[in-house]
């Protein structure tokens, strides 16, 4: 055999060495474990579990067939290859045309293998379609609505206060869906513009939000947890940064959270005496385009981080909060955002009534802390290309000075 082995071996060694060299600098070689925040290989609820076990069935069946067929193919290639040029030029082998018995049996075997996949597939289709009949009474209902590029979550069964006179409206939150753990949650998915898709891998597969189509879906979290989700249908410029979170809480925590959410936005009493002119505010550091806005510290225990976020900020400055609240109206933020009890009724953007208690900004994109929040309100376009807030800034010529950014940040973070 003149050409293959030695040459193959040399090329293979060279490429392996090259790949090794390139991979050395700081790479996590455990990626095959697939244990990321959005892993589909870690099921934390019955829907995801049903999908994952079906995946394993398909995986094993195809893997076994691959080993069998691949083994025969590899053997054929090795056994019947021409070993020398003389071998190539030798008399052609017998010109056989096939063997119907072998062919029919192989077809039969393939059909059988597919039946092994088909049965659990059908079972899972019906199981994952809707909340099981026995659990329907216990199911909790929410409506998720896709917007370019954020998610609105509505709780049709929860009536939240709109004003002190006692008017009520269904509870609405944005980008962070809080659900009771251990209870099936039926999610109606809707959209106001293009097609989006709701996907929280650890809790279940995706379901598309399609205009003029009343889709629904269910999921359940086994136990309290903090889950990463992301829009899974391309929806325009900032599709990649249209993310969200699902927070599952036990019954007690969920009730406590609900009570807080149903109330009007928190008001911080402005200091009685006028404050002396504050020291000039330093400009925010420059951020690189598309710079990371999440921290490793947060990832260590995201649920704890979420809990911590429910408490009032330690360095809250009532004077700044009051100034920020005023700016929220004068800069026309309230035209698009609602803050129940603070006279802001906008519906185009996410409801901010309890914004300070959320862990992320910009649809699960960056962490909700003073620095990142200021980055976002200073120049939303650089964080999320094409978003409507940036367009509103341009159309209405809205600019925010450093001091105004700080005040607005303080106000927004006070909305616990």
């Amino acid at each position: 055999m003149r050409f293959v082995p030695s040459f193959l071996a040399r090329a293979g060694r060279f490429l392996a060495a090259l790949a090794g060299l390139l991979l050395l600098p700081g790479c996590d070689l455990n990626f095959w474990r697939m244990d990321g925040h959005q892993s589909t290989m870690i099921a934390e609820g019955p829907v995801a579990r049903s999908q994952l076990s079906l995946f394993y069935v398909t995986c094993w069946v195809t893997l076994i067939i691959f080993i069998l067929v691949g083994g025969v193919l590899a053997y054929t290639m090795w056994r019947f290859r021409a070993r020398t040029e003389a071998d190539e030029r030798a008399e052609p082998p017998p010109q056989s045309h096939g063997n119907p018995l072998v062919e029919i049996s192989l077809i039969g075997a393939s059909v059988l293998a597919l039946v092994i996949i088909a049965v659990p597939t059908l079972t899972a289709i019906w199981y994952t379609h809707d909340v099981p009949e026995a659990e329907k009474k216990n199911a909790y209902e929410v409506t998720a609505t896709g917007h370019q590029w954020w998610f609105k979550f509505e709780y049709p069964s929860e009536q939240a206060a709109v004003d002190t006179a006692g008017a009520k409206t269904p509870l609405v939150t944005g980008n962070e869906l809080v659900i009771p753990a251990g209870r099936p949650v039926r999610i109606n998915v809707r959209t106001v513009d293009v097609i989006h898709s709701f996907w929280v891998p650890k809790l279940g597969g995706k379901i598309d939000m399609i205009p003029n189509r009343a889709n629904f879906f269910w999921l359940q979290a086994d136990k309290p947890g903090y889950f990463w989700g992301q829009c899974a249908e391309y929806c325009g410029d900032s599709h990649a940064v249209m993310r969200f979170r699902v927070i599952a809480l036990d019954e007690k925590d969920f009730a406590a959270w609900k009570e807080k959410q149903l109330a009007l936005a928190r008001s911080v009493a402005a200091p009685a005496a006028p404050v002396a002119a504050a020291a000039p505010v330093a400009a925010l550091r420059a951020f690189k385009t598309n710079e990371v806005g999440v921290s490793e510290a947060f990832d260590r225990n995201p649920l704890e981080a979420w809990r911590a976020k429910q408490a009032v900020e330690k360095d809250e400055n009532p004077a700044l909060v009051a100034q920020g609240r005023e700016l929220f109206a004068t800069k026309t933020c309230n035209a698009c955002h609602a803050v129940r009890g603070h006279g802001a009724m906008g519906v185009q953007g996410p409801d901010l009534t309890h914004f300070g208690a959320r862990t992320t900004i910009g649809a699960g994109l960056i962490e909700n802390n003073p620095e990142q929040l200021r980055r976002w309100i200073r120049d939303p376009e650089s964080v999320k290309p094409g978003n409507k807030m940036a367009k509103a800034y341009r159309d209405n010529k809205i600019t925010l000075s450093d001091a105004e950014q700080v005040a607005l940040t303080a106000y927004l973070l006070s909305l616990k």
Binding site: F31, G36, Q95, L114, D208
Partner: protein
């Protein structure tokens, strides 16, 4: 060819009146005009190949930019909008402007040779398909004038190759990008349908005597199935595109949500086309592999009838599985179950092909030459892609995988590991036939191994990415999701793959000019295309062959005396009928296509509002283009289709001054 048809030509020949000057048939055999007026299926095939390879490189550059952006988390190589444009144009380009035309190149070049024909049934329609394809490709790429020359509002489309409504509406995508995309695809559809009708008629009517349907080479069979798929599936996308065009330009509400339109309708129409399209991309590849494996195993194809039948079966079932692209659209339990089962069913005929390819090699004498390497690479990679495809048929599991990188891994295994590997194998395999030169084994194998390694390094890690939750069509990702390493590896792999492709084409270009010359039939081929000299003469077959067996040329090589006697009789008979009948070249298909180009540009590149001058350009150019097309078709029908006759000397050269002059407009 049957002889009655030929007599009809003969009796007509003397009665043809003198042609007016305008209708004089072009006679150039070399130079630019000869290419613009050619109706020779081999030249048209070659041109298809050249254009396809050009766009293959364009699509490849787009892919490398995508991988550069994703090499590191929070990448900044491309803006969000530019990244979205890249993946849209990468998909559209690779499918419509690279793989399909490259398959068409082989259909054109090889299929008539395999059935013993001297050209396709409608040579001028064939030229029209080619030039309309070029027009469509130009319109589709018009949007690049925006990013390159900074023209506001003229961008390349960024709505995905599948253009899901309502993102494609004027409200969400103003500007001209989607208009270019719609019109480009419409023109490509015209080209594809015209070409396919031509292939169908050719295969059914122009087979050499004795070439029964069950003796057709498998590649020709797959050409036939693919042509039917194109003819039956393109109308669906044509309807969808017309509706979208109406929505965007004339205020209809097919998909317009505010008017009660149904975006889901687009998905059904698109995938009724889109899924057969997948088989349009892979069946020609399977045909090529079914030619290469027997040749290099020196054995006939194992189970020919069942391979053919499974190919046709895939074609039929391909129309029954479109909604498996829509498992996440909330179709309900019954529809989901039906499409899941149909999808599993299609795995059976696909598996049959793999079994039969292995059966073909079993007991053979495998010559491990470059085409065989690519063919074996195809079988392995297609198997992996096929298995991940079976995984997707389990609908509930698919809701986790759909629109994730797992899907990207799957279809690149099928489309690169499958289609592209087979097409690259086909180029190597038929290169000696087309150009009379052979690629060096060393360089051919080197390019194979670089491509093979680069491909796997790029796409295998994407399985992990997808299962680890990375959605597709995302221009950025955060570093805390466990996606950094696979993305980095994939990007490195992509550049290795790019290097492999570069080596492949450098070697091809070198071989075209300087490669080792080879004689007739260098691979000990089995089918009729190897029975002719290389490069093939314009008339293909000196004598139309009579076919006695499935592997027609293999039979000829083993029955030389019988064939020689038959040939002598046939040649005399043909000469008595006036010689070799050839079609005239014609400029009118090019004229008709350029009218479509003018109308295509006019109707998309200008603003439609009544209060701006753009409307005059839009209307004016559209009407002008329509007129040019009509003129082209009018003269095309006036110039007649009588053709001319060639007489050959004993070396196969046309004899001057005898016979071949009476066709040049001097009747």
């Amino acid at each position: 060819m049957d002889t009655t048809a030929k007599t009809a030509y003969l009796t007509k020949e003397d009665a043809v009146p003198a042609q007016p000057k305008l209708l004089a048939h072009p006679t150039a055999k070399t130079g630019l005009m000869s290419w613009l007026t050619t109706v020779d299926h081999k030249r048209i095939g070659f041109l298809y190949g050249v254009f396809a390879l050009f766009f293959f490189l364009v699509g490849g550059v787009e892919a490398l930019l995508i991988r550069a952006q994703l090499m590191y988390p929070n990448g900044t190589v491309l803006s969000a909008q530019m990244y979205n444009t890249m993946f849209t144009m990468h998909g559209t380009t690779m499918i419509f402007l690279a793989v399909m035309p490259l398959s068409a190149a082989f259909f054109n070049y090889i299929m008539p040779l395999q059935i013993g024909a001297r050209d396709v049934a409608f040579p001028r329609l064939n030229a029209f398909s080619l030039w309309t394809f070029v027009a469509g490709a130009i319109v589709l790429n018009l949007g690049w004038i925006g990013p390159i020359f900074g023209v506001e509002g003229h961008n390349a489309p960024d709505v995905g190759w599948y253009g899901y409504s309502p993102l494609t509406s004027r409200q969400f995508t103003p500007g001209h990008s989607v208009d270019y995309w719609v019109m480009g695809l419409q023109l490509l559809g015209v080209a594809s349908i015209a070409a396919s009708l031509n292939f169908i008629v050719t295969i059914i009517n122009m087979r050499a005597p004795g070439m029964t349907m069950m003796r057709l080479p498998v590649f020709t069979w797959m050409t036939l199935v693919t042509a039917f798929l194109i003819v039956l599936s393109f109308p669906a996308i044509t309807i969808a595109l017309v509706e979208l065009m109406m929505d965007r330009n004339f205020g209809t509400v097919f998909f317009e949500v505010s008017g009660g339109g149904m975006p889901i309708l687009w998905q059904h129409l698109f995938w009724v086309f889109g899924h057969p399209e997948v088989y349009i991309l892979i069946l020609p590849a399977m045909g090529i592999i079914s030619e290469i494996l027997p040749t290099f195993s020196r054995k006939p194809l194992f189970g020919y009838p069942i391979v053919v039948f499974s190919g046709a079966c895939i074609g039929f079932l391909g129309f029954a599985v479109w909604s498996h692209h829509m498992f996440t659209t909330g179709m309900g339990t019954v529809a989901t179950a039906a499409f899941a089962l149909a999808t599993m069913a299609i795995a059976v005929p696909t598996g049959v092909k793999i079994f039969n390819w292995i059966g073909t090699m079993w007991g053979g004498r495998l010559m491990m030459r470059t085409p065989m390497m690519f063919a074996l690479g195809f079988v392995w990679m297609f198997m992996i892609g096929g298995f991940s495809g079976v995984m997707h048929s389990a609908a509930p599991a698919d809701t986790q995988q759909s629109d994730s990188y797992f899907v990207i891994a799957h279809f690149h295994y099928v489309l690169i590991g499958g289609s592209i590997f087979a097409l690259l194998a086909g180029i190597h395999y038929w290169f000696p036939l087309m150009f009379g030169r052979k690629v060096s084994e060393f360089w051919g194998k080197l390019s194979f191994w670089i491509i093979f390694v680069g491909f796997n390094v790029t796409f295998f890690p994407m399985h992990f990415l997808g299962l680890n939750g990375m959605p597709r069509r995302t221009f950025t990702y955060d570093p805390n999701l466990g996606w950094n390493t696979p993305n980095y590896i994939a990007s490195i792999g992509a550049f290795v793959l790019g290097l492999g492709i570069a080596v492949y084409f450098a070697v091809m270009i070198y071989t075209y000019y300087k490669g080792e010359k080879v004689g007739r039939d260098p691979w000990d081929g089995r089918t009729l295309e190897w029975s002719i000299p290389n490069p093939p003469p314009e008339y293909n077959f000196r004598v139309v062959p009579t076919v006695h067996d499935r592997d027609a040329f293999w039979y000829e090589k083993n029955h030389r005396e019988q064939i020689a006697a038959e040939r002598a009789v046939a040649e005399k008979a043909e000469e008595a009928h006036g010689g070799i009948h050839m079609p005239h070249g014609s400029i009118w298909p090019l004229v008709a296509s350029s009218g479509l180009l003018i109308a295509g540009v006019g109707s998309t590149a200008f603003e439609a509002k009544w209060d701006v001058p753009g409307i005059h350009w839009k209307l004016g150019l559209s009407l002008l283009g329509g007129l040019v097309t009509l003129v082209g078709i009018y003269f095309w029908s006036l110039e007649g289709n009588e053709g001319y006759h060639l007489h050959l000397d004993k070396d196969g050269k046309p004899v001057k001054g005898h016979g071949d002059d009476h066709g040049h407009g001097k009747h």
